[in-house]
Symmetry: C2
Amino acid sequence: MGDVYKALADPTRRAILDELQDRSGQTLFELCVRLTGKGFTSSRQAISQHLAVLTEAGLVVVRREGRYLFIDLDTSPLRQIYDRWRVGPCESDT
Amino acid sequence: MGDVYKALADPTRRAILDELQDRSGQTLFELCVRLTGKGFTSSRQAISQHLAVLTEAGLVVVRREGRYLFIDLDTSPLRQIYDRWRVGPCESDT
DNA sequence: TTGACATGCAAGTAAACACTTGCCTATCGT
DNA sequence: ACGATAGGCAAGTGTTTACTTGCATGTCAA
């Protein structure tokens, strides 16, 4: 399985995760349109390659139906980050 | 300020954070020795450059005393990751 | 069946990145 | 003062990465 940290290193990939958190189950084409609308200039191919990285990292799950590719968010791989360096997410600041 | 995500993208930098979490306030030289002991082959210059990236990201704080450079861990910039994609770190799994 | 639509695949390019090399500065012990 | 120690700076190198370009595949509607 791929590297979650490396997957998060790119701003466009983070924007994809943001977009999927806002609306999971989007089509690749939808994703491209909405990212373009938010100022990202990435082409479809670029986004497709980013999705491959995110899928490798387990942050995204992909299912193909007909000619559509539906993309779902899975944030569970992020937990390893939370577990590795405990910043105390449950404790509030003083 | 630098990019926290990009700072975490490198395995050696993550090992530095691990090492500092185990013992914060280490010297650069100590850090080099202990990382070498754990199988990392990075030179002092390489580690110094990694520290610059970590410092830029706010994950590490550096103070110079005499000829020693003391390095302290600061995990607080990680909180932005926790806040961005809520994976529910406080809820236990079912 | 034909054409438009949604996506896949692969080679090439330019920039970013991690690391080395070589030398320089500053501090401490003796 | 002198040598040894701890670290800094900067140019050069090789690899990785993000992106483009061009074409191929598969699906649906008419």
